[in-house]
Symmetry: C2
Subunit: 234 residues, 2 copies
């Protein structure tokens, strides 16, 4: 096999912040690391890029192994390339974040990997630069969710407006006006009224909506303030 006359071949890792939403809080999936270095410490989901796969393949493989899910929304964030970020061997990590429906993952796979959901307020110490990655991912999620209809990825296929609102309130850690929120979301025409109502509430049942996937795809890159009022000050 031909090679370039250049010797700096480097291990390439992929790390991923997996976000979930349990109905009231935003959470991230962390793993108790079972190999050296830092064995027993908490880390993000990750793995090495193999020779026969691109980053997308690797991301799907790694996410599938942990969650049992395919076709997860995930997006590249940044490459972490500090020379000494891994003490064992020079490794660069292409950091990603993923958004999943927290109720859809395979609990056995998660348990067998020693993975747990943590709220953002109660994160344990993380290995390497993983804390920095989480902070960046949250920042990016806030940025992107204000401009693109990305939040739906964190919800079940059918959801109510109050659920969606609670999600945005968790992302931005701010209360929203129910009436303006409703009008804003409905005006995007991204939601389809399923005709059903949610179960289990002790009060008025809310309408269950489903995402209009076709319009979602079409509008996704038409960036505009999806939720206005966010991101405009801080």
């Amino acid at each position: 096999m031909k090679r370039y006359p250049h010797t700096s071949r480097i291990l390439v890792a992929l790390d991923c912040i997996v976000f979930g939403f349990d109905g009231s809080q935003l959470k991230v999936l962390l793993i108790k690391r079972n190999f050296a270095p830092e064995k027993g410490k908490w880390s993000l989901l990750g793995g090495f890029l193999d020779h026969d796969e691109d980053m997308n393949d690797a991301g799907n493989r790694i996410l599938y192994e942990l969650t049992g899910l395919k076709n997860i929304y995930f997006e590249e964030l940044k490459t972490f390339s500090g020379v000494n970020r891994d003490k064992v061997e020079r490794t660069i990590s292409v950091c990603h974040f993923a958004l999943i429906n927290i109720h859809a993952h395979n609990p056995d796979a998660v348990k067998s990997k020693n993975a747990y959901w943590y709220t953002l307020q109660s994160l344990p110490d993380l290995i390497f630069d993983h804390r920095e990655m989480v902070d960046l991912a949250l920042q990016k999620l806030r940025y992107k969710a204000a401009l693109h209809p990305i939040g739906f990825e964190l919800l079940p296929p059918q959801f109510t407006l109050p659920q969606l609102q609670k999600l945005y309130e968790a992302i931005y850690n701010e209360k929203l006006d129910r009436r303006n929120f409703s009008r804003k979301i409905i005006s995007t025409h991204l939601l389809i009224d399923t005709g059903q109502k949610n179960e289990g509430g002790q009060t008025k049942k809310a309408i269950l909506y489903a995402l209009d996937k076709h319009k979602y795809q079409k509008q996704f890159n038409a960036f505009h303030y999806f939720i206005s009022g966010f991101g405009t000050s801080a």
Copy 2:
């Protein structure tokens, strides 16, 4: 030296789309490649990541070698990781884009590297996936320039409002209303009136402004429609 029991060590390249603005058109800097494969074809500015440097070091090194400039604005775009993107050897490329004042670069360094400025309308065929990189960079530039005061990086330290307007018109390929543009820019309070006027015009001389670097730093991440009306439809 310790190593992970994993064999997929990979060449890591850094490629960079260098944008410039000549007063009327947006341009990118391309290089006639002087080594195999694809020797003699046009490519983006790039190089390999060395063992003793992080991505930031490598970017600064590569940009300095070509332009003679330091402290250039550059930003990571995306990692291109296709298995066969380079025929010689598996190489992933962390793609960046840079914004420079086109009049400040070192012309001798550029010439000695066989580099030339091309307008976006007249790009030659590019090697590998570099064309895809350019398209993505332009898309990102348009996105970002609508939300953040990034355009100033393409202008000299002192510039006029008409110059700035022509820059945005070049970026978005759209005509703007002079009066609304002026009001919008002035309202950001990012510009300092230098008290000077530009030279060389045959008509009324325009006010030369300088960027208020302090406010620029502070406001940079406070994303909001820096230029409204863009990015809201397409």
